[in-house]
Structure formats: C-alpha cells, structure tokens
C-alpha cells in the first residue's frame, strides 16, 4: 500500500508568509508538495468558516500563517486571527478533530529557510496522525 499523502490547506498572508514561500522557491529550497497554498491579504481575513470548509471537504490539516506580532501590514490582523484560531481550537476538538490538525504560525518575509522546515515538520506530523475523519466518510 502506498504511503498516506495528506492534503494540507495553507492560508498565507500576502506580506510575510507568502513572500517567505516565494523566497523558499527562488532559493530552491524544497518542501513536500502536500501543502496547498491559498494567498490571502492578511490572516485577519481568514474567516473561521474557510477553515471549517477545508476540514469538511477532507483536508487533513489546515495551516494559517502570517506576520509576526507587531509586523502586520494592517497593524493588527494577526492578533485577530489568533483569537479565531483559539476559538476553532476549542470548537473543532469537540467534534473529534485533533487540535494538532489546525496550526497557526508566524513566518516573516525573510524566513524562507524556516518556512521550508516548518512545512516538512508539519507534513510529517500530519502523516503520523493519519487521514482526517472527513476524508473518506460522507459529510452531511
């Protein structure tokens, strides 16, 4: 049987983490292709709804990543994102979703190397958790 390849949906902020991902690419750093990046203008615009949708559609993990606290291009979007992630990390485990499947990180624009490292670690973590419960069963 082939190894389980997880799908991880990542919401990257345009100004920091997405730029870091670009940098990782231009620096020819490699990381697993399991991460599906969605570029957003700010982590503060990631409605909890997007994350729920990703999970219900069968994502094995969701990563939200933006600027370090204090560096937000829109001053405080990442602080708002942190509260929403906190909220989801309270709600989703109530329905059996492992809290480790949802991650929030701060990756600055110059952190290409760190980004690649985090992606590798995250993918191996999710592989260990196995497929999400929504992957195979019907979601109503």
């Amino acid at each position: 049987m082939s190894e389980f390849e997880p799908t991880i949906v990542a919401f990257f902020c345009n100004w920091c983490t997405f730029t870091a991902a670009d940098l990782a690419g231009t620096s020819r750093l490699s990381y697993p292709p399991n991460i599906k990046i969605i570029r957003v203008m700010c982590t503060g615009m990631v409605d909890p709804q997007y994350i729920i949708k990703a999970f219900l559609e069968g994502a094995d993990g969701v990563l939200v990543s933006g600027c370090h606290p204090g560096d937000c291009h829109y001053i405080n979007g990442n602080y708002k994102a942190r509260r929403r992630i906190k909220l989801l990390k309270e709600i989703l485990p109530q329905f059996g979703f492992d809290s480790k499947r949802l991650r929030l990180t701060w990756i600055g624009a110059s952190d290409g190397i760190r980004l690649a490292e985090i992606m590798r670690t995250l993918v191996s973590q999710i592989k260990e958790l196995g497929p999400s419960q929504s992957k195979l069963s019907m979601v109503i």
């Binding site: 989801l88 309270e90 709600i91 109530q94």
Partner: protein, 381 residues
C-alpha cells in the same frame, strides 16, 4: 437608598398585581409604552405586545409559561434609534441577557429602555404550551406558578418544561432596572419589587409602594434553584458531548436537518442582516454538485448542513445565552440548544466571558491583546 417594596397579592392572582404595577408605571408618564406579553384576543397564544394605553393591559400574562420568541430582538428594534420617548419592556432573564449582547454588538441601545424582569421559573416548548393552556390560559398560568414556585417541579400536569429552562442557571436577572421577585416570597400575600439601577429607582419612587426588606429566604431559594439547575445543565453537557464527539456522531445528530435555518432566525444573537448561507456564495452552480458527488461517489442533499451549524457555532457561540429558541424553532425536533449550550460553555470559558452578564465585558471576537493565547501559535505541542 434604592426602592425595595412589596405589592399585595389579592385572590392569589399574581398576574393582577403585576398588571397594577405596570399600569402605575405607565401612568407616571416617564414611560410612554410597555412591551409585555399578552393573550391575543383571537387565539390563546401569548405574544409580546407594545402597549401605550393602560386600559390595554387587561389581557397581559407576563407569567405565562409560553416563550414563543426571544423578545430581545424586538426590544433591540425598539431602541436602535432614539425616538424621544421612553419605553419599558417586561422580559425574561434570558431575553435581557440576549438584549445586553445585542447592545454590545451595536444592535440596540441600553439607555432608551427600562428593563423589567420577573423571577423566571421557565416555560414550555411552544407546542406543549398550547396543550397546557387549554380553554382558560390565564387560569392555567396561575396553576403553573403555584406548582413551580418551590423550585422543584420540572413538569406540570404531565407537561415538561423546555430543556433550556431546566438547564438555566439564571432564573433572576441581574441587569433588569426593576426586578419583580417571587422566589422566597409568600406569593399568596405579596410579591417583591425592587430597583436595581438608578433609572429603575427613579420610576419606582414616583409610585406609591410600601417599602419592605428583601426576606433572607429569597436568596436561599434562588441559590438552591441555581444549584439544582446547574447540576441538570452539567449532566446535559456530558450527555451531549457523548452523542456528538466525532464526525460520525455529529452527522447523525444533524441527520434530520433540512437546512431551513429556522434556528438562526429564532436566535436572538444571530444578528446579521444577511446570513452568508443565503447569499450567492452558497447558490452553487448545478455542475458543482455533480463534481462534489464524484469526489466520494455520494453527497447528501441539501449540502452544507454541518458546515452551516459549525459556522454558526464559531460566529455566535460566545454570545449564546441558552434561551432555547433554536430548539423551539426546529421543525424536526433536533435538540440544537443542548449542543449550542455545550459548545458555548466551552468557548465562553476559553475567553473568560459570560454572555449577557455585563455591558462592560467586551465580546471576545471584538477585541484582542498583545500577549495572549501563545499556546495556539507554533507547531510544537
């Protein structure tokens, strides 16, 4: 010194004593209108009415164990813009808590309204109320009160109180301007009326009332009721968690949901003018359904049922007051309140927030601090 007084009860008719008090309040002319529940002449059901003429207070029945709507939304509608007149509203404690939430969400104004609350022993589900009320609903109300006032009964004449009420640990409002007290009172003789704010005090001072002290038995009675209801509530949390703690279980919990969204319409704190679930974002193209179905070979129609409920939980669970109108509104008897209260309890605790408790406490998702919730950041734990 704020006013604490008693009102005599004649012929065991508490409703009449409250009617007289409201009439006096309306006649002070500080208040131009009162929002209060009464029996509609054409049917037995009790509905909120806005009364400006004291003569039209005759049919009121604020004690009726009926709870057709959470009137917080109506009070919000009446106070959204200044009208130059002052109104009062007789609301249940959960309606007041929902109203406080709406004020904080900028949907209502607190200063334009006098909140009057009566100690709440709970109410029936809509269908059950009509069964109970029978031919003489006003008399049924008094029978109901007699039975439940000791705080022990959770059913009257074979009809059970709504689960939301059995699990409600807020039988007395802390935020009403004027509180009408029944617990711990000899309600055959008199009931308590007390001002809890300056505005309430100002009104009660215009009325001729006989001052009294709050009997010690009152607090004891309230405390024991709260203990009882809290333990019912905690048991409900455990049972609900047990039936919903995996994707499979939560799916079976909502299996009979038909996406009517009645629960959202009935919810007093779901205040969006247009819910995202009725916008074009969810008006999917026909081919979209086929492509979704192809992914797993099957999808359930209508789609997005669980998506809707989980989204609603993230949007409003921190403001949930547990009034139970969602369960009341469900055409398929899904015990939504049980689930929403269970989750709301978790989320409100996480943000150290209690919905409807105070005007000062800011809604959790409207604020943030610099150095908080570090535990959710990073990929190591």
């Amino acid at each position: 010194m704020t006013v604490t007084a008693k009102i005599d009860v004649k012929n065991q008719d508490i409703s009449e004593s409250i009617r007289k008090l409201l009439e006096d309040i309306l006649k002070t002319e500080i208040i131009q209108a009162i929002l209060v529940s009464q029996h509609l002449p054409m049917k037995k059901m009790v509905m909120p009415t806005l009364v400006t003429d004291p003569d039209h207070l005759d049919g009121i029945d604020p004690l009726a164990p009926a709870f057709p709507v959470n009137a917080a939304t109506i009070a919000a509608r009446l106070t959204r813009k200044p009208i130059g007149e002052k109104i009062a509203a007789v609301l249940r404690p959960c309606e007041i808590r929902a109203f406080i939430e709406l004020v904080k969400l900028n949907q209502a104004k607190r200063g334009n309204i006098i909140l009057i609350s009566v100690d709440c022993p709970g109410a029936f589900q809509n269908k059950d109320y009509l069964k109970f009320a029978g031919q003489n609903p006003k008399e049924a109300t008094l029978r109901f009160y007699k039975k439940v006032m000791d705080g022990n009964a959770v059913e009257v004449e074979g009809v059970e109180l709504a689960t939301a009420c059995k699990a409600c640990e807020y039988p007395v409002s802390e935020n009403a301007d004027i509180q009408i007290g029944l617990y711990g009172m000899k309600t055959d003789e008199s009931i308590l009326v007390k001002a809890q704010t300056e505005a309430g005090d100002h009104i009660l001072k215009q009325i001729n009332l006989s001052a009294t002290n709050e009997p010690a038995a009152r607090q004891t009675a309230i405390n024991s009721l709260i203990t009882k209801r809290s333990s019912f509530r905690d048991e409900m949390f455990l049972k609900t968690t047990e039936t919903t703690n995996s994707l499979e279980k939560i799916s079976s919990f909502f299996a009979s949901c038909v996406n009517c969204y009645n629960c959202r319409v009935a919810c007093p704190v779901c205040y969006c003018k247009e819910c995202v679930f009725v916008t074009d974002a969810f008006n999917h193209d026909s081919f979209q359904y086929i492509s979704w179905a192809k992914k797993k070979g099957i999808i359930k129609m209508p789609t997005d049922t669980l998506f809707y409920h989980l989204t609603r939980l993230t949007h409003m669970s921190t403001a949930c007051v547990g009034c139970g109108q969602c369960s009341n509104a469900c055409p398929n008897d899904i015990p939504i309140m049980e689930l929403f209260r269970t989750i709301a309890h978790v989320t409100q605790k996480a943000f150290d927030y209690q919905a409807g408790k105070s005007i000062e406490q800011k809604p959790p998702l409207s604020i943030f601090c610099k150095d908080e919730f570090q535990e959710v950041v990073g990929i190591n734990d």
